[in-house]
């Protein structure tokens, strides 16, 4: 449902939840709906045109990951990519071992899939994180052994922006002579930091379209050439039989267009960092705001706690001012963020987290609005006990 009373001036800081589709993506989706609407599996010209568009989208995405187009498998989004990668790998390798190594701060689509695999007899090790939300490489080395069949570590945490040492996984697997496949949930990292699966040493990598200004309904799983995982869905030849079903062409075309439209990442990173530092300087002036993200977090994601102001009222207050942030995860009625709890934050800080996430379209003016609204919110909202 879309609300009529949405304010004219809006400052959108919930880009880790979803981003505004860019013009290129919208145009590509429209073309796939109005002109190239055939089934890419059909043998006639209409189908071939759609297949060309599918190939083009695959190439555009692979170019961004510096991989080969045939290593890209389209899915419905990040959650499906994560489910497919984890279940598919575990199923494929279960005869060689039953141990899975991951972290305590994964996104629910990884965390809960692993819990489900636990019920099916896998032993899941969830590495603890430090106060900066990062796992230690030493822990990783001691956790991975020859019985380990899967290692899954996220590139960037969705609540805090903490960057994990994903590249250490390959060394740990090699050192333990483990048959493990390595999966990386890169949904929050894709398009926001340099990302090359082959140099990170991962076999499987999940990405999503609507976090990079594509539209909802498309994602992809990178599967390194030569790696085989078991499919979860059956009944067609599409996506090399790994993900049968007619492809969601409008969303996939938009995904390709959005990937192509991604600007130079190093430059974007630098300007995001500049904006983040500007924002933090404003927060410091306001006072009463604690920063939960580490200093070396991805600058696009900043998690803060506003002393004594619980997330929910602050979020609705900001929303009424046309400033949109998130609390990082559902935290109402005593439900606290698992990620922040794992980082060992005090209970006051766990009551009041806000996640501020930028996109490449975020402006200084928007940050001024945010700081202004936050200041008003702190004055307006009664401190909780």
């Amino acid at each position: 449902m879309c609300r009529k009373d949405v304010r004219q001036t809006e400052a959108y800081f919930d880009n880790s939840a979803t981003t505004k589709p860019c013009a290129e993506a919208a145009a590509a989706a429209e073309k796939a709906i109005k002109e190239v609407w055939g089934n890419p599996s059909s043998l006639h010209r209409s189908g071939m045109a759609a297949d060309d568009l599918l190939t083009l989208s695959r190439e555009r995405i692979s170019a961004r990951l510096n991989c080969s187009p045939d290593e890209i498998y389209f899915t419905s989004g990040g959650t499906e990519s994560n489910n497919t990668a984890l279940r598919g790998a575990a199923l494929r390798l279960k005869k060689q071992g039953n141990k899975i190594v991951s972290t305590a701060v994964e996104h629910p689509s990884v965390y809960e899939t692993l819990s489900d695999l636990e019920k099916e007899g896998f032993e899941v090790i969830r590495l603890k994180v430090d106060g900066e939300g990062k796992i230690s490489e030493d822990d990783l080395f001691s956790a991975v052994d020859e019985k380990t069949v899967l290692v899954s570590i996220m590139a960037v945490n969705n609540e805090t922006g903490s960057v994990q040492p994903v590249q250490a996984a390959k060394r740990a697997v090699a050192r333990a002579h483990s048959p493990a496949l390595i999966h990386c949930d890169a949904v929050q990292a894709f398009g926001k930091m340099p990302l090359k699966p082959s140099s990170l040493g991962v076999d499987l990598m999940s990405i999503s379209a609507h976090k990079i200004h594509g539209i909802k309904g498309a994602g992809a799983l990178y599967i390194r050439k030569g790696v085989k995982i078991a499919p979860l869905v059956f009944g067609g030849e599409q996506e090399n039989k790994l993900r049968p079903g007619t492809q969601a062409m409008p969303a996939i075309a938009a995904f390709g267009a959005a990937a192509k439209a991604l600007p130079d990442i190093e430059k974007e990173l630098a300007s995001a960092k500049e904006l983040r530092d500007y924002m933090l300087s404003l927060f410091e002036k306001i006072g009463g705001i604690e920063i939960n993200s580490p200093a070396d977090a991805l600058p696009f994601i900043t998690n803060i706690s506003v002393t004594g102001r619980r997330s929910e009222p602050m979020l609705s207050f900001l929303s009424e001012k046309g400033v949109y942030v998130s609390s990082g995860s559902a935290c109402s009625k005593g439900k606290r963020s698992r990620v922040l709890s794992e980082m060992g934050l005090s209970s006051e800080r766990l009551e009041s987290p806000l996640r501020i996430s930028f996109s490449r379209f975020t402006t200084k003016e928007e940050i001024d609005c945010l700081a202004d609204a936050l200041k008003q919110g702190i004055e307006y909202i009664r401190p909780s006990k």
Binding site: R3, K4, E312, F317, S319, G377, Y380, R382, K385
Partner: protein, 400 residues
């Protein structure tokens, strides 16, 4: 062959001279509830109301399921209305009830002949229909004591009605027949159930909700709309009044003892609700309180909130266990909405250790510091009104 719905009145039949009124009310309620599904005729014969659609294409599945939720109905069945001719009756019985006959192993036939000019008497009708069905369906046998399927053939003045097993109606009395009351609704599990229960006893509902932005979100209000929409399937349309409550809560928090916060707040809610009730011709308030459920619902605490009320407060859940309330909320389909995790006005500023044995004097003294009249007046002036229909949503209008 036309399909119709036969509605058996509930307690109505017992109500002597008022019967006519109650029946009119029931018909009006059914008419309103069927809005949007086409035109229907309603005619009452003995203690049955016959609902006949004007159109062949009417969605009778939807119409039937809506009438199942109308109070004042003991039982109802979908029936075929056919010409009063024995050949037609036999063929139509097999055709109309084919699916149900195929799903049953045993059956019996009932016949009712109110048109005494019809040439066959009831036992003869039964014998003919029974014989016809047995000859066409080899798998069936007759069981007059405990049949899977009871086929009823009614010979009325204008037509013959054929139907299978009767379904139990929603019971209760027609909404409106007992007057109107104001339901205090928070968003939890209890208040929608309380509203449903009082509507069942014939009360039309007006709803009062207290919102404390930004402590409560727009989502919490949307949740109340969704809950009332479910209740309205039983009670008919509900006018909702949303009261701005932030200032009152802040004032109580700033000026009154913490352990009495909830009680003073509830007294304010009662005062405001009574004003809205008087304005809307409501003769009582309805709450979802149950003794001992939370600190503000102990007997002494209820005495404190009751003390500011000068109209009856109906508390239909007062002696129920939580699991009994949950069972009803599942039945009326409000449970899954109720458990959505949005903060409501009752959980904002909740004290850590509320007083469980307060006295009226204690509370009166504690709230003296507040300018109660001014606060109540301001809140009442800021009330927003919204009409909630069970089957009409404004999502389409909202969509640009």
């Amino acid at each position: 062959m036309n399909e119709i719905i036969l509605v058996k009145n509930g307690e109505l039949a017992l109500k002597g001279l008022n019967r006519r009124n109650f029946e009119d009310m029931l018909i009006k309620n059914m008419r309103l509830r069927l809005e949007g599904l086409g035109t229907f005729d309603f005619s009452s014969q003995q203690s049955t109301v016959v609902v006949t659609p004007h159109d062949d294409v009417t969605d009778m599945d939807e119409a039937f399921s809506r009438i199942c939720k109308v109070f004042g109905i003991a039982g109802l069945s979908r029936a075929a209305s056919v010409e009063k001719d024995m050949g037609v009756i036999l063929r139509s019985t097999a055709e109309y009830l084919n699916d149900r006959i195929l799903s049953a192993r045993t059956f019996k036939v009932n016949a009712k002949r109110s048109d005494k000019t019809f040439p066959l008497a009831s036992p003869e009708i039964c014998a003919q229909v029974g014989g016809y069905i047995l000859s066409r369906y080899q798998h069936l046998s007759v069981d007059v004591h405990n049949p899977d399927l009871i086929i009823t053939v009614e010979i009325r003045d204008h037509a013959a009605y054929i139907h299978g097993n009767q379904v139990k109606g929603a019971g209760g009395m027609p909404v409106g027949s007992s007057g109107r009351a104001a339901l205090l609704i928070s968003g939890g599990i209890d208040s929608p159930v309380a509203g449903y229960m009082m509507a069942k006893r014939g009360l039309a509902l007006t709803a009062v909700h207290f919102a404390s932005p930004p402590y409560t979100s727009a989502r919490a209000e949307q949740k109340v709309h969704k809950l009332l929409q479910k209740v309205a399937a039983y009670s008919g349309r509900i006018v909702l009044f949303t009261v701005p409550f932030t200032e009152i809560q802040e004032q109580i928090k700033d000026n009154c003892p913490e352990d009495l916060f909830t009680l003073i707040m509830r007294r304010m809610m009662m005062r405001i609700s009574q004003i809205i009730a008087a304005d809307q011709n409501c003769g009582a308030l309805i709450t979802g309180e149950s003794v001992g459920q939370v600190a503000s619902q102990t007997m002494p605490a209820i005495a404190c909130t009751q003390a500011v009320c000068n109209i009856p407060v109906f508390r239909p859940l007062i002696g129920m266990d939580k699991d009994e309330v949950v069972a009803i909320s599942r039945k009326i389909d409000t449970f899954d909405i109720s458990i959505l995790p949005y903060e409501d006005c009752c959980t904002v500023f909740t004290p850590k250790h509320p007083r469980t044995k307060p006295t009226v004097e204690m509370v009166e003294k504690a709230e003296k510091v507040l300018d109660i009249d001014a606060l109540v007046d301001k809140a009442v002036k800021g009330v927003k009104m919204k009409i909630i229909h069970a089957y009409k949503t404004d999502s389409e209008d909202d969509y640009e």
